[in-house]
Symmetry: C2
Subunit: 205 residues, 2 copies
Amino acid sequence: MAPTPGVPGTSAHRRESYTTESLLAVAVEVFNERGYDGTSMEHLSKAAGISKSSIYHHVRGKEELLERAVGRALDGLFGILDESGARHGRALARLEHVVRRTVEVLVAELPYVTLLLRVRGNTSTERWALERRREFDHRVAELLREAVADGDLRADVDVRLATRLLFGMVNSIVEWYRPAGSGAASGDQIADAVTRLAFAGLRRP
Amino acid sequence: MAPTPGVPGTSAHRRESYTTESLLAVAVEVFNERGYDGTSMEHLSKAAGISKSSIYHHVRGKEELLERAVGRALDGLFGILDESGARHGRALARLEHVVRRTVEVLVAELPYVTLLLRVRGNTSTERWALERRREFDHRVAELLREAVADGDLRADVDVRLATRLLFGMVNSIVEWYRPAGSGAASGDQIADAVTRLAFAGLRRP
C-alpha cells in the first residue's frame, strides 16, 4: 500500500505532506489498477485526497508521473548492468548475476516494474519506456550469446527465444508476487528458484 | 485475422455467412484488443459487420461468447491431461508431456488462450474460468510433486514456486508469439525450447 499521508487533516495539511516521491507511489498504484490510459487527473486527485492544482504543484501532469515511475524501474534495471558482477568475469557468471539481480529489483520495486511491464506505447513516454526495455533485453541477449560462444551455455537453444522465455519467467513474477502474502517467498528465495530453474533446469542432475 | 465473411454483401447475406464459430473468432479478437469489460455488444456488432440482433441469433449475449471462447481454451488444456502421455509412465515423463503439449495448445489456440489468461474475475463466467485455470495448475503441480517424490526432479525447488515460474514462462508466449512473423519459430520449436529450458536448464551439461 502507498502511504496515505495527512488523513484526516486540512486540505493544506494534506498538500504539504506529499513529497513528489510519495505522490508518485499513489499515482503508480492507480495506474496499475486502472491502466495508464484509463487514469485521469481526477482519479489521481481523488486517490491522493488532494486537488488537481496541488498535483500540478509537483508535476506537469499525468505523463510526468508516468515518466518518473517507469524511470525509477528502468534506473533500477540498468543499474544492474553497471554492477561489478555484471561487468567482470565469464559471460555465464555475469548473466547469472544479471538474472538474479533483475528478480531482486523487480521484487524491491514491484509496483514500478509492474507499471513498466504494462506500458502500451500510446504516448511518447510509453514509447520511450518500451524502447528502453528492449535495450535492456538486448543487453541480456548479448550476454547469452557470449556465454554460448564461451561454450558455457547449450548451443541448441535459440538465443532470441531463450531471452524471451527467460524474461517471460522473470516478468511473470509481477502477476502473483505479493510481499505481504502469508508464507510468501522472499525476493532472495525467488531469485534462487529462478536462477536454478533457468540455468540448471528442474531435472535432477 | 478473423475471417470477415460476406463483405461486401447484403445484411442478410452477412448474417447468414456467420457460424457461431466464426462469430466467436471475431468476438475473441475484439475482447483481446479492448478487454472483455471494455467491449460492448455495439463493438461486437461493428467488428462483425452485422446487427446486434443477428448476434443474438447465435448467442444470448457477450457473456456466452466469453464462455464459449474460454471454454474452447480450457477444453484444449484439459484434453492434454487425458492423453496417454499424461496418464502413463513416470511422473517426470508425464510432466514433460503436459508442458510440451500445453505450449502446443497455446500456440494452436493462441487468441482463445490469450483471452483465458487475461480474464479478471468480474463476472461469474470469468470466475469460473479462473477456477478452472487454477484446477489445471494444481494438476500440473501434483505431477511436479510426484516427480520430486520419485527422485527425478531436484528437491531444492519449492513445488508451488516452480509451478508458477513454469507457467509464467509458458504463458508469456502469448505476449510475443505471432504466427505470421517473419522467421517466427514454430509451435514445435517453442515447445522444444521451453521443455529444454525448464527441465535441463540453459547451462551446458
